[in-house]
Amino acid sequence: MLGIRKEFPGIIANDDITLQVREGEIHAILGENGAGKSTLMSILFGLYHADRGVIRIRGKEVSIKSPNDAFSLGIGMVHQHFQLVHNFTVAENIILGKEGGFVYDIHRASKRIKDISERYGLSIEPDMVIEDITVGMQQRVEILKMLYRDADILIFDEPTAVLTPQEISELMEIMRGLAAEGKSIILITHKLDEIKRVADRCTVIRRGRLVGVVDVQSTSASEMASMMVGRPVSFKVEKAPSNPGPAILRIEDLSVMSSRHVLGVKNFSLDVHAGEIVGIAGVDGNGQSELIEAITGLRHAESGRIFFKDADITSMPIRKRNELGLGHIPEDRQKRGLILGATLTDNMVIKEFYKEGFSHHGILDYPRIHDYAERIIEKFDVRSGEGAESLAGKLSGGNQQKAIIGREITGEPDLLIAVQPTRGLDVGAIEFIHTQLVKERDAGKAVLLVSFELDEIFNLADRIAVINAGRLIDVVRTDETDVDSVGLMMAGIKASGGER
């Protein structure tokens, strides 16, 4: 891709970017949130048309007008947000759009899917329904979809943001295998260690412009980070020892049913105090979602009680909880966090629009709302083409996340529940958000952090609560434990020996 330019209303997303990928190479693209990575890939995949620039494949200039053109040129893409039909089976999803004629032979397709799955170690069963399988598997279905169509240029847009460490290692293996077969892989990720682990070369872009191409082996992670952000980045947060006050959140003997009608959380008890960050460590799917949903009111508790600032909130309506001072950065930013079809302005007051100050006698005060939204956007550096009037859905993934975090922190909660708060953020933004969370803590607020990344938990939390199969294994002080013993506890083995 040579000299690519793409302008959206109010912003130049790609400004004369050149990207050259070799055969059999894993090529990483690194850039801040909103730098234009997804846009560049969408151009290669035929979703957008470049304003200027040419695309050459094996030396031949091509014009890619639609994803179908891309497919026929052997280009496949796994999107930042998956594109699967949830109540279809794996096989149906894979052949969707490639049925070939009116009747399609699902059995032959299934057989081929099985073959490919075995060959690349994807372990996918063609008959499974998408909504029943884990996110990691869904992603492998997306990979299979590309391979099924004989793609040999594979684009991965932030594939690891939704995966557990285990799944990430598997994915890296799969990628290496594909590259060894001579396929070219373009990998977009914000995680420098992943680039170090698999990529051969890395193209760095900043604010739509090319910064440079580096050889991954001979460049350190921090060099790449500062190249991308334009300043040195620190990976560790500075924080003083915590100074916990009274308990803000008390969870007593809580049990919660999961969507699969089994207990997702079992007899869980935990206190979170003012002025501390408690991290919940655990492998994805061990009851974290159910626990958080019960605290925030999105799911009702089977038994047990939840106290927030001494009020029993176990069955309190969500709005009341919010009014009491509960902030929540949700797990799924596109499902819960934002209304993609509404403007940023509306999204910034989605919880508070009815309050005096934003409205009066039921009539919205848009000038005030607009100012408020502008302030959040400014402070949290939410980048978009048209500022507060941009539709939330047109923001880059990382900027959507920053907008949600900004809204929740600006709402001044006494308890902030942050689920995977830095998912999809660039290293600079992560540094900023981590500092903000510590600031909240120092201001005497309580923070409950759920993260699948132990690094993040160890970096931020004062105490770590480990959850396994819906049960609390133990709560330990961060400075009195280490990654290995927490890792063991995550597998259900308590540090003091003895199982469970």
């Binding site: 959206f8 304003d51 919010n322 819960r336 966090g337 509404a342 629009f353 039921g362 009539i363």
Partner: protein
Amino acid sequence: MNRIRPLEARKASPLLVSLSAVVLGIIAGCVFILLIGKNPFDGFEKILFGALSSRRRIGNTLGMSTQLILIGLSVSFAFKTGLFNIGASGQMLVGGIAGSILAYYLPMDMPRVIYIPVIVIAAAAAGGIWGFISGLLKAKFNVHEVVSTIMLNWIAYWMVYDFIPRFIIDPTISVKSKPIPLEHTLRAEWLREATGFSTLNYGFFIAIIMTVAVWFILKKTTLGFSLKAVGSNRFCAEYAGIKVSSSIMISMAIAGALSGLAGLTYYCGYSEIMEMGKMPNEGFDGIAVALLGNCSPAGSFFAAIFFGILKMGRGSLAATGIPTEIADTIIATVIYFTATNVLLSAFWNGRFQRSFEKKEEAVSYALKAAGDMRCASDLSRKEFDELAKKGRKLMKEVR
């Protein structure tokens, strides 16, 4: 900001899409008229003549449009809040029967300033309850509103069938209600006189007020904000503390009330009787109005008047020997093209972008010819246009 708009901003507006659907519908009408060997201009002249050629005809057209506006608003409102109201017919019937019964039983010497608000509120309430039931079924039992509204249409139908003979029967023609005396309809002497005794009635003003009210609710109020939030992403609305189930019920109730008002204007204004065993078509026409109007209040208003013109004008077609069904065909074609608006906008987007690319090409050519090193995208709008002209001329000369 005088920068040129980028390619990505060159998109068709909903208004353009709707207007193209109308134009295509009219073209289709011309083709049909030609196919039966008649002159299309005669046909359209007759339609316009029938709908707009005199004060009386304009009055009738607006009278016809009144219920279409209200139902269009009803469907649009529900749609904006994520619901599909196809129960406008039933809601019209209950609104109409409520109004008709009151018109029959309320004392004749009741002052109009009290009487009219009473029947307006009663009809809105009746329609509102009808809508609310669908909302309740959806919120509490997850019954899809399409199913429940259709079933409620038939309940309303049989209820009216039972109520007419029970309360308001016309003893001479036993399948109709007794005509409502003029003073108890929505008609007004001054309006009738101004429009040559047309069907135009106070309902038209109700429709205007409701157009503004719906716009206001959706755009400016906290109520509209929460209803729209539930409509566009109920998971996010729930997370934000908005009560999803009560929003659904409120939204359906408001949509129902609007259709109830349509029923009132139809049965106690446009006409003055109700017939047994007749499901009003307008309920379904309203969906077309909402579609063509892009579900916006103002859009519904004008779309309703457009359909009103076709519906009133069709009567005059007969004189030319063109079947009146042509008007219905045009409506159907317009609906078809609005429903496939994706194709229409793709067409316009393609045209806009191609012409922009051509212009850009001309500009680059002119820049190169002048030895200017700047890029097309760095120019101001004025420079861009001038250079485009110059470039085009140069390119022609070379050829």
